[in-house]
């Protein structure tokens, strides 16, 4: 590119301004990348939620319990293959920052509902044989360097005291790209030890025989417990997981709005900067035209300059996000999939270039239309 030195020389003309403009692009693309990562993390649960699974929670709130007695009553409903249940324990391992979900499960039914969780039969049997046993996800085990046989104390937050568990197995998801960072232990151990809440569970998970009949089953379950002290709310696991994200606000809408505002601001700022920088060298552009540079050539120079700024800024911003994600989930488990995919880098880079193009295009067209004689008169 024999014109590159001209473009670079123009960028060096006002170094501080160029750095600021590159910085705006870097900041905007950093934000874009980060929002993409968060959006992905928020919705990753939904990606692996089985379509044939329904979740039954207390209608009032997820954190309110349901009676254990519902197990048999749900099981009687037509079209249900299996029912299991869980209780959120909320224990803390050493430090609250080490957050990970720790959940009591019903060993008798759990694996029949969650058939996509893989664990060696030997380890499962050891888990069944030890009342204080626990099975942990592979990601979680890796995170804390746990091995089978380790004794793990969790400080109870709902049920106080230090609860001790023995790791009897390590599980992973059938699809290995999915996160495995939950800690499971036995419901019967919790039930025996907890001073209150006995006879209740956190939520039920229902596996249906025919996913297409799901809607009917949902109303059958909720209908059965209508007007009881513990009314239920049933939905597919997928809806539940995205609904969980929705509780924090419509994340995706927020992300898109914030992103749009940032990019519009960026466009106004850089468009203005480019316009100023082109106006400042009206005379020079007229000289180039005098020397025989075509209108399209002058447009090309201005737009290339803008593209170079936006491209460099965009890459810096995206590289920073990538670096940031390599450090792992900063929330300690809340965002389990914390990853900037290559497609997002590509899309971000293209957005940056598009912004650069638009910002440079209008001043570029003005430069293109510029009449030499008028420009010289103005000097």
């Amino acid at each position: 590119m024999k014109y590159l030195h001209i473009i670079l020389a123009n960028l060096k003309r006002k170094k501080f301004r160029t750095i600021l403009t590159i910085g705006s692009f870097a900041a905007a693309l950093f934000l874009f990348g980060l929002l993409t990562v968060i959006d992905k993390a928020m919705n990753s649960g939904a990606d692996f939620a089985g379509a044939d699974r329904l979740l039954v929670i207390n209608k009032v709130s997820l954190i309110m319990p349901l009676p254990y007695a519902y197990l048999e009553r749900i099981r009687q409903i037509e079209g249900i293959e299996e029912v299991t249940f869980s209780v959120w324990f909320g224990g803390v391992y050493q430090d609250p920052k080490n957050f990970f979900p720790n959940i009591a499960i019903d060993t008798g039914t759990y694996r029949r509902v969650y058939s996509d969780i893989v664990i060696a039969d030997g380890q499962w049997n050891d888990f069944l044989a030890d009342r204080q046993g626990a099975i942990v996800g592979q990601d979680l085990a890796k995170r804390f360097g746990w091995k089978i046989g380790d004794r793990i104390p969790l400080e109870g937050t709902i049920w106080p005291g230090v609860w001790e568990f023995n790791i009897r197995g390590i599980w992973e998801m059938e699809d290995k790209s999915l996160p495995s960072s939950d800690f499971y232990f036995r419901y019967d151990y919790l039930e025996e030890q907890r001073p209150w809440g006995k006879g209740t569970v956190g939520w039920y998970i229902v596996k249906v025989t025919d996913p297409s009949a799901g809607a009917g089953i949902v109303s059958a379950i909720d209908g059965r417990f209508e007007n009881s002290p513990y009314e239920t709310k049933t939905d597919t696991e997928k809806v539940f997981l995205t609904g969980f994200a929705n509780q924090i606000g419509n994340i995706r809408l927020i992300i898109i709005s914030v992103g749009a505002v940032v990019f519009i601001t960026l466009l106004l700022v850089t468009g203005n900067t480019m316009a100023i920088s082109v106006r400042e060298r009206t005379g020079e552009l007229a000289v180039l035209k005098t020397l025989g540079f075509s209108d399209a050539g002058v447009l090309g120079l201005v737009v290339s300059e803008s593209l170079l700024i936006s491209g460099i800024g965009g890459l810096i911003g995206l590289a920073l996000v990538k670096l940031f994600t390599l450090g792992g989930d900063p929330t300690g488990g809340f965002l389990q999939v914390f990853y900037l995919p290559p497609e997002a880098i590509g899309v971000g880079f293209l957005i940056a270039l598009l912004m650069g193009f638009v910002a440079g295009f209008i001043p570029g067209v003005n430069a293109m239309r510029l009449r030499i004689v008028t420009a010289f008169r103005r000097i």
Binding site: K2, Y3, H5, I6, A9, N10, K12, R13, G283, E284, V287, L288, K289, T290, L291, G292, F293, S294, D295, A296, G297, I372, V373, I379
Partner: protein
């Protein structure tokens, strides 16, 4: 009707019945009225006249930077009115070199890069471009200043760089608008001498607008422009 002394097709610049009006609100400014001009190849013509008499306007029209209100301009047989903007740009790049009073160098480019600019529009290789730029800078006597930026050059040096830029593509026609207007006497003399040499030694046709009475020493003829009319002075050297 002056200077129709070019016989047949062998004149390099041929201007016929050129009118140029500017409109400023309701006011019409008649800058050029029926101007005719013939220039033979290799000729060096100086234009003089009071400020505002239309000298720059005439030069811009001949260089294809502006469009006449009426009349025709031929450069080397090409009728400028018939060229599109794009063709005009290409035409300027190939056949015309411009030299201005304020040099009009690009401040962020070095002397070398400034001189190279017109060559970027050609298909020359980098090596060939280097050779051409070096030759042009040698002709103007500035070989040692290639890496300097315009702000690091004296006025005379900057004008020499501008002249090198104007001749680097070896154009047939040089258009100079008060090239010594911003220089002291001595430096200005050097520039005039250089332009004279370009005409005598390299056969360039030079049209130069000037206020400088000493231009007579290098020009073949001097034309006066007054109230839109061109008049030939008696003999070079009289002024």
């Amino acid at each position: 009707m002056v200077r129709l002394d070019c016989r047949g097709e062998d004149c390099i610049v041929k201007v016929r019945d050129l009118d140029k009006k500017y409109y400023r609100g309701n006011e019409v400014i008649d800058v050029l009225r029926g101007t005719n001009l013939d220039v033979s190849p290799g000729e060096f013509i100086a234009f003089m006249g009071p400020s505002g008499s239309g000298k720059t306007t005439l030069l811009n029209l001949v260089g294809g930077l502006d469009e006449p209100t009426a009349g025709t301009i031929f450069i080397g047989g090409e009728e400028l009115n018939k060229l599109s903007r794009r063709e005009l740009a290409r035409f300027r790049a190939r056949y015309i070199g411009f030299i201005f009073q304020l040099y009009n160098l690009i401040p962020v480019l070095t002397a070398y890069q400034n001189v190279q600019l017109p060559l970027l529009l050609t298909s020359l290789s980098k090596k060939e471009r280097i050779k051409h730029v070096e030759t042009a800078l040698a002709i103007v006597g500035l070989t040692g200043r290639m890496k300097h930026f315009p702000s690091q050059l004296s006025g005379g040096e900057a004008q020499r760089v501008a002249i090198a830029r104007a001749i680097v593509t070896d154009p047939v026609l040089l258009l100079c608008d008060e090239p010594t207007g911003d220089l002291d006497r001595e430096t200005g003399d050097g520039i005039l001498e250089l332009l004279g040499r370009l005409s005598k030694e390299f056969g360039k046709t030079v049209l130069m607008v000037t206020h400088d009475a000493r231009a007579a020493a290098v020009a073949d003829s001097i034309l006066h422009l007054d109230k839109g009319i061109l008049v030939e002075a008696q003999e070079p050297g009289v002024f």
